[in-house]
Symmetry: C2
């Protein structure tokens, strides 16, 4: 029996429109037609023109036979064509697959085959890799190449594809694109970096893109006065949904072809950047940049960082440079940010370390996250809020992926029990804040005891000579595994393994201290994450 509130009160065209972040662009073009939407080198693109260019792209793709359910791959740094593709590709009904620009030809070929991409748009910088991948691909694919004027012409090579600007010229700037018929329709496809086995294709839906973008606006305080610097790669879970979030409020996108301290500081000063997102390694890079590259600025820059928690000296050093750091946590599967370390006013009274230990936690659910739980991975029983009991972090949200493409078993495993299993181990503090203790696969089991690699890394980061550190398990006949630390020292700093181990043993249970220390640079992914699987291989080979 339906109640009177469900009778003759159905959803229709006037009161139900599928949620999609694509709607933000025509609105921005309507409200702020002449405002600068994009800055790239000397170029300025207004919202009217960004909208027209996205329409041209959608129109040209449509004319070339691309439509609903087709994959369009893009390999580019944070330049206008990749931003345009975040709108233009799904405006054609297609699915955007932004490729990690650090991948090699084999990985690209694997992804192009798995995603069944019909179209590939690539920047000439990656010409050699792209040609290598295409040679491995067993079917033809339409290739479009971007000749970015900001690219160093000495880098990269021609791909013999259609010129990107010529493709846009084929399209209609007033193209009557169709919004998705269903908000559950796919908008983007992102391959996880795949620390083991082949990468998995994470499928995003329009509903989640819309909601996560609004969540960003609210969590990060974006408005039409926002000037957002593109340090975080747009290929990394669609730049945490910021291509859509910044557009939703009519902010300005500042493109950045090369992520390095000098162009970041220069862009902040030149364009009065207000917001940026970056991996913790970028924060280290900014702090340790030579003074000649550190252009000063007289406003506060909001910086959101994710992945590993920023160590307290990093937070303090960033504040001295004029940044305000907010710590986010999430995964590709959650469209990027799922939690925020929400600042509490009473933290201001804490000392530096007290403040930093609060700020280093992953925090509470994002405004648009429906539920966050730390629980037993098998029984789903939540852990007590004691800051000690370890459980797996699980999410329930409209900002969780549709699933893994063509991988129902991995999808079912990830969604076991009606929760998304992050694979991250953490605790719930008495104040309701979550703290990640380790990736499930990064826990070191030594003599039957669990050692958190993250906890040990945090300690090593506090040593004044250390710039970066990562700890992995090293196989051991007696103990099963022992902690092995890979450490990069600060310029001009000196430290030997025995001294560091002794320093650790003074501060932590002896069995948790590293047994091995290796000095040198750390291998990283394109997004600045330390590649622990490389280090695990090295530890095994020692």
């Amino acid at each position: 029996m339906t109640s009177m509130f469900e009778h003759d009160l159905d959803a229709g065209a006037a009161n139900y429109v599928p949620l999609s972040p694509l709607s933000f662009l025509p609105r921005a073009a309507h409200v702020w037609p002449d405002k600068t939407a994009v800055i790239h080198g000397d170029r300025r693109v207004s919202y009217r023109d960004l909208h027209a260019r996205a329409c041209r792209l959608a129109s040209a793709l449509t004319r070339r036979g691309i439509g609903r359910g087709d994959t369009v791959a893009v390999m580019a740094p944070n330049i206008p064509p990749l931003l345009e593709a975040h709108f233009g590709v799904p405006m054609a009904g297609a699915v955007l697959n932004a490729l990690n620009t650090r991948l090699d030809a084999g990985a690209i070929a694997f992804i192009l085959a798995h995603s069944e991409a019909k179209f590939l748009i690539a920047d000439r910088e990656y010409g050699a890799v792209i040609k290598g991948a295409l040679a491995q691909l067993e079917r033809p694919i339409t290739v479009v190449e971007i000749d970015d004027p900001v690219r160093d012409p000495a880098v990269g090579e021609r791909i013999d594809g259609i010129d990107y600007e010529a493709l846009l010229a084929e399209g209609d700037p007033a193209f009557a694109w169709q919004p998705p018929a269903d908000e559950w329709q796919a908008i983007a496809l992102n391959y996880t970096s795949g620390t083991t086995g082949n990468p998995k294709g994470v499928v995003f839906h329009h509903r989640g893109g819309y909601l996560n973008a609004l969540g960003n606006v609210i969590a990060f305080g974006l408005s039409d006065r926002a000037v957002y610097l593109w340090t975080l790669p747009m290929f990394h879970c669609n730049g945490w949904s910021y291509p859509w979030a910044v557009t939703a409020v009519g902010g300005t996108h500042v493109c950045l072809r090369r992520v390095a301290a000098a162009p970041i500081f220069a862009a902040i000063a030149a364009h009065k950047v207000t917001h940026l997102c970056a991996a913790p390694t970028i924060l280290s890079m900014l702090i340790h940049a030579p003074d000649t590259e550190k252009v000063g600025f007289d406003h506060v820059v909001e910086i959101a960082t994710g992945g590993a928690a920023p160590p307290s000296p990093v937070i303090s050093a960033m504040e001295r440079l004029g940044f305000r750091v907010t710590h986010l946590y999430g995964l590709t599967e959650s469209f990027g940010p799922a939690t925020i370390c929400q600042w509490q006013t009473d933290w201001a009274a804490l000392d530096r370390d007290g403040k930093a230990s609060k700020m280093a936690r992953q925090g509470v659910g994002y405004p648009t996250l429906e539920a966050l739980m730390v629980a037993d991975p098998k029984t789903l029983a939540p852990v007590p809020a004691d800051g000690v009991t370890i459980g797996e972090i699980m999410l329930r949200s409209n900002t969780v992926m549709k699933g893994y493409l063509k991988n129902p078993s991995a999808t079912a495993e990830a969604f076991h029990g009606g929760w998304f299993h992050t694979g991250d181990l953490g605790v719930l503090h008495p104040d309701g804040y979550v703290e990640v203790k380790d990736r499930m696969k990064d826990v070191i089991i030594s003599g039957g005891e669990n050692i958190s690699s993250l906890e040990l890394e945090e300690l090593i980061y506090k040593h004044p000579a250390v710039m970066e550190a990562a700890v992995v398990a090293r196989p051991d006949e007696t103990w099963g595994e022992t902690p092995c630390a890979f450490v990069t020292l600060k310029p001009d700093a000196a430290l030997d393994a025995a001294a560091l181990i002794a320093w650790c043993r003074e501060r932590i249970a002896h069995f948790k201290a590293p047994k091995t220390v290796v000095f040198g640079p750390l291998p990283k992914t394109a997004t600045g994450k330390i590649q622990k699987f490389v280090l695990r291989d090295r530890a095994k080979a020692l």
Copy 2:
């Protein structure tokens, strides 16, 4: 044929949760448990306690047999129980029907009968009216009465119902309430003021409440630092969704039992209010308050106003008092605000009148509004963006009502052609901003020519002696209708009808000038809207 993106990638518990603004309260209680959620007189309620009280209400209602599809009516000023009901009633699965506190017993009885309310929660101030309504109602209904400590005990009377606090005491503060199974489920019911015939019951859905609340957060710049003063009645389209919006960001609700200049200024100064919403008449009231009531404050207060456009002298006077005025437009059917007169930076260079004429427009679609059109009501052909051609304003949005309760013909008429017809006539300016010219039914047709009552009111407002004005049609044998102006003068100002008519004729086409002027106070609805239907009756009787 479904694509690979729609295969084995269904929505489930982990990645699809029905949108509901109810989710904001448990999140706020988790993130800000000890923060002040509500200020009412000397009382302070934390978010932990607001959540517990809403759970108690939901639990008590459930134990008393209230469930999905049941209506719970509340008659109260802007005090904590009405805020609690915005969460507690739908947490029980029921539908909140907040009653206009200015209605008489007959209108209340009509609404209680039409809404089939099973439960009525009422403040003792309205004891006599409630008892009168119950006497007219042909069935029993459970009555709960609120004995608000802030109420002047000389006002109102006992209703002989269950005490509100006793009802809460019946409930479980940890009640495991069920979120809506479907985001299209009804959350609230609001009766339009009904200028002609019986009021219509506008049904709100959870999806729209969630989205409009986020739209408010973004449009009005709410954050956890927001201190929101409850001047706009919560019974008026659920206070434009602000009970949910302020809670979404963990802001503080400042209740206000009596809307008058003195308590408003006092609350702003005492609690450092940052945001409030109010009808234009409240703005006039603040401006014309005696200096003894105007308590100064040293911060900028954001004030959103809706309904009639604020005349330029009102905007300027408010700015001098320390307020920043934003003009919104919407209807009960659109959950309150649907458009915003988005400030453009280049307006700052305009003179006072130029700025005010920009700011008086209804503006552009809200961040969460999907489409806004000015079009021919029959053919749905959009008008050109010339600022001159009149059409009806139409909306398409997830923030449009489900429809009118038990009134499928009115629902079908309102949604004709897949657009919600606002009944407001307006123009589209070349810059894409919409301006309301008149309610369709307020247009005066004199000698076959249309006269906009709004245009004439705007002119009369500019006369230095005028405090408020409203223009309606007066039947006329020769012309069909002629404009009749009802005018309230400023204290100590003097003006006669002939002088005002002559002043108008110098500034407007002669046929548009009023033929009749009546001086005196204007009749208003509970939300401060001038009751034109009363004036039309008076004009007819002249």
